[in-house]
Amino acid sequence: MIRLEKRPQPSKVWGALTPVLAVVATMIAGGILFWMLGKDPLEAIRTIFWDPLFHETFGPYSRPQLLVKAGPLILIAIGLSLGFRAGIWNIGAEGQYIMGAICGAAVGLAFYPSESILIFPAMVLAGAIGGWAWAMIPGVLKVKFGTNEILVSLMLVYVAENILASVSQGLLKNPDGMGFPGSRNFRDFPAAYNTDLIEGTGMHWGVAAAFIAVILAYILLTRHMLGFQVRLTGEAPRAAKFAGVNPTRLILFCLGTSGALAGLAGLFEVSGPSGQVSIDFNAGYGFTAIIVAFLGRLHPIGILLAGLLMALTYIGGELAQLMLGLPGAAIQMFQGMLMFFLLAMDMLSHYRVRWKAPVAAQEGAK
C-alpha cells in the first residue's frame, strides 16, 4: 500500500518539520491514552503543555522551573550530540553528571565557610574536571583496548551512583547534620551558592552555561574544522580517515567534552536548585538528555528547543499528576511516545512516501 522511496538527499524541509509532527502525534496518542485512563484528554494535554506557563496560580511557580529543568538537559545534550554525530555513544552522562557534582561540591565544602569570590569558579572548574575525568575512563579504554564505550560509560553510571551514596553518608556528610545523610546545604554557604542571576526567573549560572554551550556548539559545528571532522566521521568514517581525521583524538575530544559539560550540569544543579549532595539529588537528567539530543536532531538550536519542551513535559507532567491524578507511569509513557514518534517520523526526511496499488504491495511481499 505504502512504498518508501529513498530521497537522493535528505529533505531539509521535512527535517525541520518532523519534530513538530512528532509533538502533534504525541499529543494525539497521549490524548487517547489519557482518555482510556478516564481523563478528559484535552484537559490533560492543556495541563501538561499550557498550564505550567500560563495558568494564573501555577504559572508564577512553574515558569522559573522551566529554565531550572531545561538548563542541565540542554547542557548535557549539547555535549552528547557532538559524540552522537561522530558515532561515539556516551550513554553514561548521568554518571559524569554525578561525578561532576561530587567533585565540584567537594571543592566548595572544603573551604566552608570561606567567603572568597574564587570559591564558586573553583567549584565550576572542579565540576567540569570531575565529569571529564569520568568520561575519560571509557574514552581511554576504547582508544587503548577497543572496548565498547556504550557499555563502559553505562556501567560507570552505577559506580558513580554508589560513590554518591557513599560520600553523602560519609566524606561529604554535613558535620552539623545530626547524623542525617547529605552534605551541608549550599543555601547556607553564599560564596558557593549558585543563585538566580535574575531573581525569580530560575536563570542560574547553569542556564547561562547552557545557552553559551548552544552558541559555541553551533559555531563549532558550522565554522570550525573540529566540528567538520565530527560530522564527517559520523557521515562517512572511511572518508574521515582518508581526510586525515585522527580517530583517537576525536574519541577523546567527544567523550571528554560531553563528560565535562555533564559534570558542569551536575555542579550547577547540586550547588543551586538541589542545594546539597544527597543520595538522590540526581533526577536522571543524564539519561533524559539523550532523548533531548535526538529530539533536537543533534542540532544545537534543536536541542535548545527540545530541552525546553522536555522540561515542559516534566513540569506539566507533575502538574497533571497533582491536578488530575494521572499516574506517574502515564507521564513517562507520554515522554516515551515523544521519542518514539520522533524516530518514526525521522523516516520522512530520508524517504519519500508513495501510495501504490494493493496488488503491487502483495507482489512486493514475496
Binding site: 537522493p8 565554522r223 564527517l232 562517512a236 572518508a239 574521515a240 582518508f242 507482489e363
Partner: protein, 510 residues
C-alpha cells in the same frame, strides 16, 4: 530501420518508455527492439539514461509512460522477481555477494525457491561446465577473484534459463584472458537463442561482440546502428554528440624520483583484503606509472599505504627523499602527495555532504581553507566551483549532496579536487571506473596534463586500454606483490597479461 519486420519477431519491444525524476527526464520516449539470440549494446554517456532504462526492464523502476512487450505479450514487471519469472535476468556492475558464504549458498539466497544445497551444487556444476565457466560451488566467495565472482552472478542468472540477460559493464573487472572466456560464454548463450542487452563503455568490445547498438543521449535514442560497421571513435562521438577529444601528450623527460617505496610490507586491515608483500617502486617527476592487476590483488592496500590511511609494517616510503611512513594523511598532503581512492561513495567523498564540504575534505591543507581552525566557507565554495567548472561536473550547484551526482560526475569532482591542488605526486585508484567515454577521456587528459607539468602520477587501474594509453611505465599487482616496472611502449597485451598473472617482469620483458 525495418521497424515492422523487426517488431513482429522481436523478443522484446520497448515503445515510448518515459521516466521522469524531479528535475530530469531520465528517459524520453525510448523505443527499440531486441531480436532473439542477439547481443544488443546499450551505449550512452553517464546520465544518458541507460541505468534507468534497464531498471525499468528489470522491474526496479516503473515507467511513467510507454509499453514493453516480451514475446508479443505485454510486459509490466512490478518487481525484479516478476521480471525474473518472465525470463529477464540481470548481472549488475557491482556484485551483491556475501564474502563469508559459499558459492552455492550465495546463489540460493538470490533464488525465489531454492532447491536443496546438494541439488543446487550439481546444477551449478552442470551450468558452469555447459558454458565454460569453471566454478566450484563449495568455495567461499571471499576467496574468489573478481572474475570468479562475476561467474557466480552469471550462473545465478543462467540457472533461471533467461530469455533476456542484461549485463551492466561486465568486463570492467576482468583480465584480458577472463574477458575472452566471458565472450565465449555469451556467444554460446546467443547461439541457443538467449538475447543479451550489453551495457559497456568499452567500444572495442562492443564492436567485437554486438550486432546492434542503441545509443542514448540525454534520455533520448539518438541512433541505432550496427557497431561492427562503425569505428570506436564514431561510436563515441555518437554517444557524446560531439567530436571526441582523445587524450594526447608530449612525453616529458622524467625528472628526479618523487616518490619511492622500498620493500614495503603491510598486512591488510580487512579480513578479505590482500597483504602487501615486499612492494618496491619509484615514480619520477613528469611520468605516469601504470599499475595493472585484477581487483582484489592489493590495490586498496597499496593506495592506503601511500595515502597515509595505513602504515607500512616493514620497508620505507620516501617523498622527495624524505621518509613519510609515519606521517598522517594530512601531513602527506601538505608535502604534496595527494591520492584518490577507488570507492567514491564513503571513501573519497562523503555522500550525504555537499560538494562544498567534500571540497574541504582533502582541500583544507593545500588550499588554505582553514584559518586557525576556523573554516573559510566562501573560499571553500570558490574552490568547489572551480572544480565543478574546470572538470565539467554536471550538478545544479555546489550545495548538492555528493551522493546525488552520477558516478562519472562525482569521479570527475574527486579527481578534479586533487588535480587542482597542484600535487607533486598524485596516486589514483581506478580513476575511470564506471565512467563513460567522454568523462574518462577528460579524466585521463587531466592526469596527462598534470604529469606534463612535472608531477609524478601513479594510476592504479584494471582497465588495460587506459593504462596503455597514458602510462610511461607499467607494472602489475598480483596477490600483493608488484612486478618490476617496465616501459609501456612495446609491451604486448600477452606480456601484460602474464605480469598480471604474477610472472616476473624480467621474464616478460626479456
Amino acid at each position: 530501420m525495418t521497424g515492422d519486420l523487426r517488431q513482429s519477431d522481436a523478443l522484446m519491444t520497448l515503445e515510448g518508455l518515459t521516466k521522469a525524476y524531479p528535475g530530469v527526464l531520465a528517459n524520453d520516449q525510448v523505443s527499440f527492439s531486441l531480436l532473439p539470440g542477439e547481443v544488443h549494446a546499450l551505449l550512452g554517456e553517464n546520465g544518458a539514461g541507460k541505468s534507468t532504462l534497464v531498471k525499468m526492464i528489470y522491474g526496479l523502476v516503473k515507467p511513467d509512460a510507454g509499453q514493453m512487450s516480451l514475446n508479443g505479450e505485454e510486459f509490466t514487471p512490478v518487481n525484479p522477481a516478476a521480471a525474473r519469472a518472465a525470463g529477464v535476468a540481470m548481472v549488475f556492475q557491482h556484485f551483491s555477494l556475501f564474502d563469508a558464504l559459499s558459492v552455492a549458498e550465495n546463489i540460493a539466497l538470490g533464488m525465489d525457491n531454492p532447491p536443496s544445497t546438494r541439488e543446487l551444487a550439481s546444477r551449478i556444476r552442470d551450468v558452469s561446465q555447459a558454458y565454460g565457466l569453471p566454478l566450484d560451488p563449495d568455495r567461499i566467495v571471499g576467496d574468489l577473484s573478481a572474475g570468479e565472482r562475476q561467474r557466480v552472478e552469471i550462473i545465478r542468472c543462467l540457472l533461471q534459463n533467461p530469455k533476456l540477460l542484461i549485463m551492466d559493464e561486465p568486463t570492467s573487472v576482468l583480465t584480458p584472458q577472463e574477458v575472452e572466456i566471458l565472450f565465449e560464454t555469451l556467444r554460446k548463450l546467443t547461439s541457443e537463442g538467449t538475447s543479451i542487452l550489453y551495457i559497456s563503455h568499452k567500444l572495442e568490445e562492443i564492436r567485437s561482440l554486438c550486432e546492434h547498438a542503441t545509443i542514448l543521449r540525454h534520455g533520448v535514442v539518438v541512433d541505432t546502428c550496427d557497431p561492427r560497421e562503425k569505428s570506436a571513435r564514431e561510436l563515441a562521438e555518437l554517444m557524446v554528440g560531439d567530436k571526441l577529444h582523445v587524450p594526447s601528450r608530449d612525453p616529458a623527460e622524467p625528472g628526479d624520483v618523487a616518490l619511492s617505496l622500498s620493500s614495503v610490507s603491510m598486512p591488510s586491515p580487512s579480513e578479505f583484503g590482500t597483504d602487501l608483500r615486499n612492494v618496491s617502486l619509484e615514480v619520477r617527476k613528469g611520468e605516469v606509472l601504470g599499475i595493472g592487476g585484477v581487483a582484489g590483488n592489493g590495490q586498496d592496500e597499496l593506495l592506503a599505504v601511500m595515502s597515509g590511511e595505513a602504515r607500512a609494517q616493514d620497508g620505507s616510503i620516501t617523498l622527495a627523499g624524505e621518509e613519510i611512513n609515519t606521517l598522517s594523511p594530512g601531513a602527506r598532503r601538505a608535502r604534496g602527495l595527494l591520492t584518490a581512492p577507488e570507492e567514491r561513495l564513503g571513501h573519497s567523498a562523503a555522500p550525504e555532504m555537499s560538494l562544498i564540504e567534500n571540497a574541504l575534505l582533502t582541500g583544507s591543507v593545500r588550499e588554505k581553507l582553514v584559518d586557525r581552525g576556523f573554516l573559510r566557507w566562501s573560499k571553500t565554495e570558490k574552490f568547489a566551483r572551480r572544480i565543478i567548472e574546470a572538470f565539467d561536473v554536471r550538478t545544479p550547484g555546489p550545495d548538492n549532496a555528493a551522493g546525488s551526482l552520477s558516478g562519472g560526475n562525482l569521479q570527475k569532482f574527486v579527481i578534479g579536487r586533487e588535480v587542482l591542488q597542484d600535487p607533486d605526486v598524485l596516486v589514483v585508484n581506478q580513476p575511470t571506473w564506471g565512467v563513460d567515454a567522454a568523462a574518462a577521456a577528460s579524466i585521463r587528459q587531466s592526469l596527462l596534463d598534470l604529469a606534463h607539468k612535472g608531477a609524478a602520477v601513479i594510476v592504479i587501474s584494471q582497465d588495460l586500454d587506459e593504462l596503455m594509453e597514458i602510462s610511461d611505465r607499467f607494472t602489475a599487482l598480483n596477490e600483493g606483490r608488484l612486478a618490476r616496472p617496465v616501459p609501456m611502449q612495446g609491451l604486448s597485451v600477452e606480456e601484460i597479461g602474464l605480469m598480471m598473472g604474477g610472472s616476473e617482469a624480467d621474464e616478460v620483458a626479456a
